[in-house]
């Protein structure tokens, strides 16, 4: 069982007499909880993906052939809610759960039982959300749940509200747990500015969650009161204001975008130096850019509301433009990290490259949306659908697969099959572009989103068909992954401790790590302790040595840059 202190293996007394089911149900080990997060969220990914296929099947041809309007509205509502709250968020929490304590040289998370509680809220929240289908129809007001539309509708919407409250609570507990772990449990020598970038991104993500999610929860409770007890928060007849919901929702909703993408940034930033055999180009710039994106993420929420006529347009336009500067810093530093390196095209690197190549599109078409008069035209059209999927599929999903292929050997002691991985990458890359690129053109031509049927205008049926074919290519790309995991888990343990010649501490222990994580830790003199171990102390790491003999993790250090948030 997990303990929060490093224990010698021989002293673990209580080993036998527990079934593996009881063991998994009661575990507080961050690695097992991380695996359960990953497994659960992958199941929800399949469920949300099937819904996406149903949506695209309906849209493959103009007219209403396959599902009726009500079913369609429930499909896109539950698809969006599932993919955001039950797939991408818990998937990243799962990866961080497994990796962050290892990367900072800790034995577990700071609050292992709260960690287990956070996890078990996820399947419960999913159950609540989907039980709407059993009580006369799931939520049907879109994942954004705009009032007063969301004040209509049946019990499915109340279940949607309760599910989101529960999932939000899970996120907040998780965020506190990660922040405490990262601030208090780093190994000696692991200063804030030697932490791997994945840890930095998890830290900033946690801060965003802590500030953004309670705002959403407050809004959800207001809506619940409106729906069930005659509150009038969003009802103009009772002195309320429907626009208030949008402010509350997007004050959460825009930081949420960065909650969904920063961990992917972190994964890509871990992978590029390893597979280029070079250090990260501009470590501090990455830390600064991550923090800046997090801070600016709170000042752009109303760019989702330009057409309400109720917001001050230039302010939100300016900050939306501004946020592309730190993102640009990341792009150029990623390229510079690879420049002059020796690239090894294993599957994790392919996904990282795919991420850079395609997330760029999601960044550029997002900058268009900061152009207020242009946003008037494409707001609520397929341009926005395309943009958000280039961020969440080309961004988050590519980042997730990069991370899964990279850390799978550490988690299971087994290497995923490279050939299957590359086939999956090619299919996913082609499918993503085929699905989402044509939607830009549809948006420019004025095709609005969230409609079960569209007019057979010139070019629209063709582009929609192309997009639907792409969706099935994406679905096809997931099959080799499932097969890959299946055959790999049945195969022998073939992964060495450090299969990628990596830099960070999780590779200093066995694959998979023992329940107490580390027998011993290498000295930490730079952000690449394992590199230093392999190649000797480089001048860079030597220069970072403190004047004193050893370094302890003292939290009062003045150089902690997260104070800028």
């Amino acid at each position: 069982m997990a303990t929060t202190t490093v224990t010698h293996p021989g002293t673990i007394a209580y080993q036998g007499r527990r079934s593996w089911i009881y063991e998994w149900l009661t575990t507080t080990d961050h690695k097992k909880i991380g695996k359960m997060y990953i497994f659960t969220s992958f199941l929800f990914f399949i469920a949300g993906g099937i819904m996406a296929l149903l949506i695209r099947t309906e849209l493959a041809f103009p007219g209403v052939q396959f599902v009726d309007a009500e079913t369609y509205n429930q499909l896109f509502t539950i698809h969006g809610t599932t993919m955001i709250f039950l797939f991408v968020m818990p998937m990243f929490v799962g990866l961080a759960n497994f990796i962050v304590p290892l990367q900072i040289g800790a034995a577990d998370m700071a609050f292992p039982r709260i960690n287990a509680l956070s996890f078990w809220m996820i399947p419960l929240g999913g159950l609540l959300l989907y039980s709407g289908y059993a009580v006369g129809g799931a939520a049907n007001a879109g994942w954004t749940g705009y009032a007063p539309l969301s004040a209509q509708g049946g019990a499915g919407l109340d279940l949607w509200l309760m599910a989101l409250v529960l999932l939000g609570m899970s996120s907040v507990l998780g965020a506190i747990n990660f922040m405490t772990t990262i601030f208090k449990m780093r190994a000696p020598g692991m200063t804030l500015l030697r932490m791997p970038l994945f840890v930095w991104n998890t830290l900033v993500t946690s801060v965003l969650l802590l500030f953004a999610v309670p705002v959403l929860t407050a809004g959800l409770m207001m809506l619940f009161i409106d729906r069930n007890y005659g509150g009038g928060f969003f009802d103009p007849a009772l002195g309320g204001n429907p626009v208030l919901w949008q402010h509350v929702f997007w004050f959460f909703g825009h930081p949420e975008v960065y909650i969904l993408i920063l961990p992917a940034f972190g994964i890509v930033t871990e992978i590029l130096p390893v597979f280029s055999r070079k250090p990260l180009f501009g470590y501090k710039a990455f830390v600064f850019a991550t923090s800046a994106i997090g801070a600016l993420g709170f000042s752009v929420w109303a760019h989702h509301m330009f057409t309400t006529g109720a917001v001050y347009l230039p302010f939100f336009s300016f900050f939306t433009f501004l946020i592309s500067v730190p993102t640009g810093i990341k792009f150029f530093n990623w390229l510079a990290t690879m420049w002059g390196g020796q690239l090894r095209f294993s599957t994790p690197l392919l996904y990282a490259l795919g991420f850079i190549a395609l997330f760029l599109i999601g960044g550029l078409d997002g900058a268009f949306l900061a152009v207020v008069p242009f946003d008037f035209h494409v707001q609520d059209t397929y341009w926005v659908v395309s943009h958000l999927h280039y961020v969440l599929v080309a961004g988050a999903v590519f980042g997730i697969f990069a991370g899964l292929f990279y850390w799978f050997p550490k988690m299971t002691g087994r290497m995923l099959n490279e050939r299957l991985g590359k086939w999956q990458f090619v299919l996913l890359f082609v499918g993503t572009n085929l699905t989402f690129f044509p939607q830009h053109l549809l948006g420019l031509d004025g095709m609005i989103r969230r409609i079960v049927d569209y007019a057979p205008n010139p070019g629209w049926p063709e582009l929609n068909l192309l997009s639907s074919i792409g969706a099935f290519v994406i679905a096809l790309s997931i099959l080799p992954f499932i097969w890959n995991v299946f055959i790999t888990l049945r195969g022998p343990r073939n992964a060495p401790d450090d299969p990628w010649e990596a830099n960070t501490l999780e590779w200093a222990t066995t694959s998979p790590p023992p329940s107490y994580n580390f027998d011993s830790l290498p000295p930490i003199r730079s952000e690449r302790p394992l590199f230093d171990l392999r190649h000797g102390l480089t001048p860079h790491a030597a220069a970072a040595l403190p004047a004193g003999p050893t370094e302890t993790h003292d939290e009062t250090r003045a150089d902690a840059p997260e104070g800028s948030k």
Partner: protein, 382 residues
């Protein structure tokens, strides 16, 4: 030994090809999208959609003054984005081709931890570019919105009310009020080259008034009146649609803007103001069926009606809702198989008598075209 080298060589080439094939694929997808866009389409229905040559990399042809401003500004943003795209993807492809690991790479590459000057450069240049984009955005926004300076009086005001799931257009000073029925919705006639103020209201949930060829939309929000001004510059018929998701009938919430010369517009106004032609007299013995009440919650009462086949008939509809209009329409009841849509709605609390076409024997579905989820069964037989 040379053979081993060759095999490694081939392997590395294969890996390189693997990485580049993906980029070729995206280019192929883009060009396929272009050619699909350029192909045009003979089956274009003028009642719906924006028209024009079809989707492409630029917004569709604008027909309003504000839309033209946006359309003229768009290439500035577009070409900056293309330049950044080409630069980054180009660098990426170059890195993938040039810096792949070769069998001879046993030594570590140069360990570069950063470069202050370079990093400042690629922070400042994007900052300058986005600042320029912001300045020109605000400039264009100002021009688009000047038309909406409240002091600058418009020549005409149209009040638009969105409700689930239909539109009402009111020309209050002319005493004209048009509520749409059916999927096509109402038609808004506008004179060209005059400044029109559109005032937006909503009674239930949020809707959005969107005419793609204005390149403009604005939300209609309950409890709030939004307004914008538009100057249409071209005679023509332009499709519009609700753009804010508003429930089950959202996809069918269409309307049409018909832009005409001021002279034609005056004729249109006169025509609208004329008393409606008296309904063609029904034989006094024509059967009359009644829908005694209809409401959003309970639907039609009764839900089943029977009439004789091939006989002129009429139906009276009493609306029992307090705030919501309804009507009585029949699926597939026209001679050509299309839906027969009620010509007018029964206002809240009011009654209307409709004269649907005589029907052949069979079973039909009647519905409220404002609320397509409200249906009933019509038995037509002996």
């Amino acid at each position: 030994m040379p053979l081993v080298g060759l095999r490694q060589r081939i392997a590395s080439v294969r890996e390189t090809r693997f990485a580049t094939v993906a980029f070729v694929a995206v280019l192929a997808a883009i060009s396929a999208a272009c050619s699909g866009a350029a192909a045009g389409h003979p089956g274009y229905e003028p009642g719906y959609g924006p028209g024009g040559p079809g989707p492409g990399f630029f917004p569709l042809q604008p027909v309003s003054q504000g839309g033209t401003l946006v359309s003229n500004f768009y290439p500035f943003i577009f070409w900056i984005a293309v330049a950044v795209f080409v630069l980054v993807e180009g660098l990426l492809i170059w890195i993938v081709l040039r810096y792949r690991r070769r069998p001879t790479d046993t030594e570590l590459p140069k360990q570069t931890h950063g470069n202050g000057v370079l990093e400042v450069i690629w922070t400042l240049i994007p900052a300058i570019i986005v600042t320029a984009m912001f300045v020109f955005t605000v400039d264009t926004l100002g021009k688009v919105e000047t038309a909406q300076d409240p002091a600058d009086n418009p020549q005409m005001t149209v009040d638009v009310t969105g409700f689930q799931w239909q539109w009402t257009f009111e020309y209050k000073d002319k005493g004209i009020s048009l509520t749409g029925t059916g999927r096509d919705g109402p038609t808004m006639a506008l004179p060209i080259n005059e400044k029109i103020r559109i005032r937006l209201h909503a009674t239930d949930v949020i809707h959005s008034f969107y005419v793609p060829q204005f390149l403009y939309k604005k939300d209609a929000i309950p409890g709030r009146t939004n307004e914008f001004d538009v100057i249409v510059q071209q005679v023509g018929t332009y499709a519009g649609q609700c753009a804010e998701f508003c429930g089950i009938g959202h996809a069918d919430m269409h309307f049409t803007v018909q832009a005409m010369t001021p002279a034609d517009f005056d004729a249109w106004v006169a025509q609208q103001q004329a008393p409606p032609p008296s309904a063609s007299a029904l034989p006094s013995n024509a059967p009359l069926v009644s829908v005694t009440s209809v409401g959003v919650v309970q639907g039609f009462t009764p839900k089943e009606l029977s009439v004789a086949a091939d006989t002129p008939w009429s139906v009276s509809l009493t609306n029992s809702d307090a705030a919501v209009p309804h009507n009585f329409s029949i699926h597939s009841a026209n001679a050509d198989g299309s839906d027969w849509n009620a010509p007018i709605n029964a206002d809240a609390g009011g009654s209307v008598t409709y004269q649907p076409p005589a029907l052949a024997t069979g079973e039909y579905t009647f519905f409220c075209s404002l609320h397509p989820n409200m249906t009933g069964t019509l038995h037509v037989g002996q």
